[in-house]
């Protein structure tokens, strides 16, 4: 299990690195699709079928949007010369990475080893969902009943984003 997931994650890392260094924007977008669809397989292996279904749909829509944008504009990657600004950015990135690695090492002490998670908060959900909500799917029960306001907020965000996209893409803009 852990080996399979490691191989998939390594595949995702390779895809991500290729996406960042591709010369063609279209291949960069497709390489980002590698990462997203590998995530689907990871979710299936981790026994999360709901997440896998949602991720398939969302990743497909994202890819369509990105491909449409790239085809509508330009496919060529910028020619970046190594100048002082770029060196500064790269060193800044490495400083951030070092800081995050420090915090990661601190935080992993508190994590259980992989596969030995203990249900604390969710044990109540697991025991009571079927009786209280009538839902056979525990994730649905949590999402739409115990944490219904979360889902309401999520729907609000989607609606706001749709209005935002429509506003930005208006044909006529104010002069």
């Amino acid at each position: 299990m852990e080996v399979t997931l490691s191989i998939l994650l390594g595949f995702m890392i390779i895809g991500a690195i290729f996406a960042l260094h591709a010369k063609d924007l279209l291949s960069a977008v497709i390489a980002a699709g590698i990462v997203g669809y590998s995530l689907v397989i990871c979710f299936l292996l981790l026994k999360a079928p709901d997440l896998a279904i949602v991720q398939v749909v969302v990743e497909t829509i994202t890819l369509i949007i990105m491909v449409a944008v790239v085809l509508d504009s330009t496919r060529e990657e910028l020619k970046v010369k190594i100048d002082t600004q770029q060196i500064f950015n790269i060193s800044l990135a490495f400083i951030f990475m070092l800081a995050l690695i420090f915090f990661f090492v601190q935080a992993t002490d508190m994590l259980n080893p992989f596969g030995q998670h203990s249900l604390r908060m969710a044990s109540a959900y697991v025991g009571e969902t079927a009786a209280k909500t009538g839902s056979a799917n525990l994730v649905t029960g949590v999402l739409f009943d115990f944490r219904g306001y979360d889902t309401l907020g999520e729907a609000t965000i989607l609606f706001t984003a749709a209005i935002g996209v429509l506003t930005i893409l208006r044909i006529k803009g104010k002069k």
Partner: protein
């Protein structure tokens, strides 16, 4: 433990892309890569060895379910990720139509 580390490496790849790339499309791609790494990390935390998917079928005797709470949270986060990506891409195409480039250095002088 190795899976957590690989997840973290994926996050760092995304962070590196956000800071160093100059193409708007690649910055959006890097942001979504960071999102993906967080999703997989949360799903990994909730996994239990020998657990089954959190769906009650009534056929398993004394079942162990994987944690449904991180899965519900990630489900919300995936949809919000779609909203942010769509919004960022809309802004990117709008800027391209105005400036004719995706280069963020060219777009720096935003003067009304």
């Amino acid at each position: 433990m190795i899976v957590y580390i690989l997840c973290f490496v994926l996050f760092l790849v995304g962070l590196y892309g956000v800071i160093t790339r100059r193409n708007l499309v690649k910055i959006v791609i890097s942001l979504s890569i960071m999102e993906f790494s967080i999703f997989i990390f949360l799903a990994l935390i909730g996994y239990i060895d020998g657990g089954i998917a959190p769906i009650i079928t009534g056929q398993d005797i004394n079942p162990t379910y994987v944690d449904p709470l991180p899965q519900a949270m990630v489900l919300t986060a995936i949809v919000i990720g779609l909203a942010t990506t769509a919004m960022l891409m809309a802004i990117a195409i709008r800027l391209y139509r105005k400036y004719g480039t995706f280069d963020i250095r060219e777009i720096k002088n935003l003067k009304g």
